[in-house]
Symmetry: C2
Subunit: 333 residues, 2 copies
């Protein structure tokens, strides 16, 4: 039964307020990977953590922070929504290797090595040239492996992604992207990437962001589930999950911050264009997190077993994160 | 027996390296309150945490981080030295109330509201005018009470200290200072302060820094223990402990950073003077943490029971911190 399962959405960046937390709780989702920062540096990241601490304080009846998968199980038992944090860029590190552990201890469980552009660590998927993982990037991958911070290559370029998969001693994830063979887009991933990722125990979260889907906002539930089924047949259902990329109730200014940060004087439209610069229209069958239940049903309807559907909707994230977040060291024994 | 007791030094700022950790372990000390920062802002404090993470990584056979008193008991069982962190100033907060919880989560267990000068929170003991706890200071005290961060008024002025004791809903500490009646110095504390502190369940850590002692570096062990005995008679031995202020192997530049930070163009000599600007000579009976055992013996010799002496040498800190570090809220229930 859907309502008995642990349901995890592997990427959201909504306007986080009490009304939204109420809708999250009502949706039946157990835990959400919330984007903490896009371009914020180390100091600014502390302020984001502080803002979330205040949200936890004011909404403790609805949400709770997640530092490990034990907290997710606890959230399920308590009927609260667990929230865990990721960065869509490596900006919280500034240029300092030691901040990997500092940020991990503060609650940054997942970090992308790049966000579309070249970073200090690797190349983003919008660059013309992909020079792979940098010297600093190699150090950071090793350190993320050590402290148990999950490497996410959702917005990274092909070569950088393949190198990160190879360099990392632990499985990595692509938290929110779709196969290029279903929909060819800069943000989607080639068969080669998905094969390398899954062969090494990695996880792919399917995105519900219309720019990542065939027919955009008109993509049907059936077509989405068909994409999941084809990917499951090719690479194994145990490696597949959801990272909806749900961005609800956010003003245009947030979209511009995501796309432009502080790096561009001329406006960058990301996956949009000058004539289509706003947020894409939501999928009718995925208006908010309640749509996860539609996906569960849709997967069952095209032949996924209960176990398989529950895996995609949460258990696969749970298992992946449980292993990946365990530090490779102990300090108190 | 001394070696069976939990021994806690409530303030050190030594040059932290492997050789020193070996001497700490050999001294029999169970845990040390290490000063993390003097004047570092929020961002710089992250680097200090990162440096300590590296020290824990490289010296895991000797030291371990302490986030709660359970870790101190664990350190005792493992034969390692536990290290917990405090700030001698409120500079890690910048001007942001939310950083109290952020820094607490990172491992800042204790914070002074001022370091000699006026801060954003209160007045330091070297200012001419003591205007008491500020508007921001009142907010921070309440927040420190909420998250379980210990308030320390060692370097604060009289009125500010009395107000902090009164404003705080939980007992506070003066981690390293002595009674003014034993030795009159700007950094030492009046009977009124020690009475208010201890009546509210607070803790006084006696300092071994020669500037805080009668006869400076020539103060005898007997005179030191006599001071402890007189204070115990007046205010109760359960409120007394040690905060040695041990600063070993530090260059002159560190003393100047402590005294001058970035605030002074003309050189400030703190407790010293132009003709006496260096580190004071160590007490012969307290050359390093091994001297704690001399204090234990000295206290026994002038009539303290085993329980009383063990209380001053560690159990009083343990009990005080165990209560004080418990957050006044839970996020995961």
């Amino acid at each position: 039964m859907y309502q008995d399962e642990i349901i995890i959405d592997g990427l959201q960046y909504c306007h986080w307020d009490r009304a939204y937390f109420e809708s999250l709780k009502a949706s039946g989702v157990t835990a959400v990977h919330a984007t903490l920062v896009y371009h914020e540096n180390a100091r600014e990241t502390l302020t984001r953590f502080a803002e979330w601490n205040r949200l936890f304080e004011l909404n403790h009846d609805l949400i709770m922070p997640v530092m490990s998968m034990a907290d997710v199980r606890n959230a399920k038992a308590l009927g609260k929504v667990g929230v865990f944090f990721g960065a869509q860029n490596c900006s919280p590190l500034d240029d300092e290797i030691g901040l990997v552990e500092v940020m991990r201890k503060q609650g940054l469980l997942i970090m992308q090595l790049t966000y579309n552009n070249q970073s200090l660590l690797a190349t983003g998927c919008y660059e013309q040239e992909d020079s792979g993982v940098t010297r600093f990037g190699k150090q950071v991958i090793e350190e993320m492996n050590r402290v148990g911070m999950i490497i996410d290559m959702s917005h990274s370029a092909e070569r950088s992604t393949l190198e990160a998969i190879d360099l990392s001693s632990r499985p990595i994830c692509i938290s929110h992207a779709n196969p290029s063979r279903t929909h060819n887009a800069l943000r989607n991933k080639s068969d080669e990437v998905i094969r390398a990722l899954t062969e090494r125990g990695g996880l792919l979260g399917f995105s519900l962001y219309p720019f990542h889907l065939p027919d955009g906002s008109k993509c049907t539930l059936e077509a989405f589930c068909q994409m999941v089924a084809e990917t499951a047949n090719a690479y194994g259902v145990e490696h597949l999950a959801i990272g909806s990329d749900l961005c609800l109730n956010q003003p245009q200014s947030v979209l511009e911050w995501m796309r432009n940060g502080r790096w561009s004087k001329s406006k960058d439209y990301g996956e949009g264009s000058a004539s289509n610069s706003g947020w894409p229209a939501a999928l009718p069958w995925f208006p908010d997190a309640s749509g996860l239940k539609n996906i569960y049903k849709g997967l069952r309807d095209i032949g996924f077993s209960e176990t398989e559907a529950a895996g995609v909707l949460g258990r696969n994230w749970l298992r992946f994160l449980e292993a990946g977040l365990e530090p490779a060291y102990t300090q108190t024994s």
